[in-house]
């Protein structure tokens, strides 16, 4: 027990929580999009994320490409990866219901984790750039430069995904399919095509989260599952299938974790997050920003 923090410390904890939470948010948006379209919890999201982190690691250590530039290279690759994954695997079992898709995602997670541990060894890796240790002073508060950049990245990404969903034709189709697949199909939207697009965007978002992880955290091949869980909690906070809710959920989770690890202890932080998660689930099962209309 450290007691209640003073205002400056409180602010610092809050900012730190928001910065970490933005990262959870990006992973959660991908999860949320995939859930909206395919109705499955894509459990391999974390493993895909770590794959992204390793790609950045390789680029950085072999050719010393800056992670923020490497990000631009990773994006199209992961979009294509997601597209292939959907058309090659998930589309084939989509008709058989949810269980096979879930199983497929799990198999993919196991496969990815172990391929990564074979290729890059199970040792913990870090991407140490010249600006990794840089901190920005803001009065008495120090903000880590990489974390700030990462959360900016997260905000921009969320904004782009949001605009894509609201303004573009394809985005509207995505929303239509996630609301009612049959009605969308009746209006001439191809659910397969839209699902493939959504899935690849979800995978690309996992890649972005991976870039963010690589420069802020040390990581190993099995680190991703924990992140999948956290992203899942963030999604549930915001309500399954909602984009802005997922980001908000991520931020709430980040703040909650950093507050509880300061006021109680780091060991209990996970439990506090899960208990809050259960309470939200029970009291507001549609999430904090959830729609009141029930899906049929």
């Amino acid at each position: 027990m450290t007691g209640f923090p003073s205002f400056a410390v409180f602010l610092k904890i809050l900012i730190n929580g928001v910065l970490v939470g933005c990262m959870y948010g990006v992973a959660a948006i991908g999860l949320s999009l995939i859930f909206g379209c395919m109705e499955i919890v894509f459990i391999a999201q974390g493993a895909v994320m770590i794959l992204g982190a390793y790609c950045i690691y390789w680029m950085f250590t072999l050719t010393s490409i800056d992670p923020f530039f490497g990000f631009l290279l990773i994006l199209p690759v992961f979009l294509a990866f997601g597209w292939l994954m959907y058309t090659g695997l998930f589309q084939r079992v989509a008709k058989a219901g949810k269980n096979p898709s879930l199983l497929l995602a799990f198999g993919l997670m196991v496969l990815l984790e172990h391929v990564m541990s074979l290729v890059w060894s199970p040792n913990t890796r870090t991407v140490a750039t010249s600006y990794s240790a840089l901190a920005l002073g803001l009065g008495s508060i120090n903000i880590s430069f990489t974390r700030l950049m990462v959360s900016l990245l997260a905000l921009i990404t969320t904004g782009l995904v949001f605009l894509f969903l609201k303004k573009t034709m394809l985005g509207k189709a995505v929303r239509g399919v996630s609301e009612d697949m049959r009605a969308a199909a009746l209006l001439g939207i191809s659910p397969i095509w839209v699902s493939a697009a959504t899935f690849s965007i979800g995978i690309a978002l996992a890649g972005i989260a991976g870039v963010a992880t690589s420069i802020t955290y040390p990581f190993d091949p099995y680190f991703g599952f924990l992140f999948s869980l956290k992203a899942l909690i963030a999604v549930a906070f915001g309500g399954l299938g909602s984009v802005e809710g997922a980001l908000l959920g991520g931020v709430i989770l980040g703040v909650l974790e950093s507050l509880s690890s300061y006021t109680i202890s780091a060991g209990w932080a996970d439990a506090v997050a899960y208990v809050a998660f259960l309470i939200v689930l029970i009291l507001r099962p549609r999430g904090l920003l959830g729609r009141s209309v029930e899906k049929i």
Binding site: G97, N99, V115, L229, V275
Partner: protein
Amino acid sequence: MIGKVLSMRNSGYFVGLILIGFCVTYPFIVDAEASYLVYFLFLTFIYVTLAQGWNLVAGYTGQVSLGQHAFFGIGCYMTAITWRAGWTGYLDPLAMLMSGIGAALVAIVIGLPLLAKLRGDYFALGTLGLGEILRVICINGGGLTGGAVGIGIESSAYKSMSPYYFIALLIALIALASLWLIMRSNIGLALVAIREDEMAAAANGIGVLKYKIFAFAVGAFITALCGSLHAYYIFHIHPAGVYSLNWAITPILMTILGGTGTFWGPILGAFILAGAFELANIWMPELHPIFSGAFIILVTLFLPDGIVSFFAGHRRGILRKLSLFNWIVQKT
């Protein structure tokens, strides 16, 4: 005559009896300490039990739980704590029973809010948090749970492999028998009705919550029995090991692989998956987990309804579903 005895209806019983007979006599034929197959069967019996525990909750009742490892861990801890305190002995049936009942009570207490409020995916997410919360509690439990190091118990009590083998077999048979009886009673009918359409079941006078909690508690009881035996076998339990999500995921995979909501599916799935894992482990230890992942993906791609559906044929499965539906309609 032989044709009649071996008709489709009876062949299941025969195969079952022959398999049980083989399992009972096998440790007497070979040296139980040295035989790899005895160890493998011991492990597989535990997995069969765990898979059937999940099958009852998710396969028959339709409540997809991702938190079975919580009950497994409770079983482990209750057994280890009572043994360390000197209340129970080595391989004590009382301790195992108490672990099972304790887990069932926890399942009732937790199931009351979760099962009443959460449906479908939300229930799955809620139960996922359960195991994680318990893991953190055990890490921070101080002297009672031994913190992150866990509880080590006297491994000098170990004498031979055979008692483990037979207890695992007994637990598996108890689980199978109770599942068989439940599914052939009115309770089983109610559970399947809840899975198919909760609203319609409630409209027909089924106390939905009561039956869901019953299935959840029985599933927890069965799972905790395995946890208890695991504690006796491993002699040192620690939070990361017994609350590992693997204890929830592997049985789920086995059930889906064999066929969810079928009696034989989880048994078949457990044997095939455990066998595949062990063989891969022997022949290519380096590549074993990669093989396992690829195996899961391949089976899902080509047999999405489980292996049992491959034998039963899709047509018969649909016919059976229809007749069951008719039966429920007539009955209620």
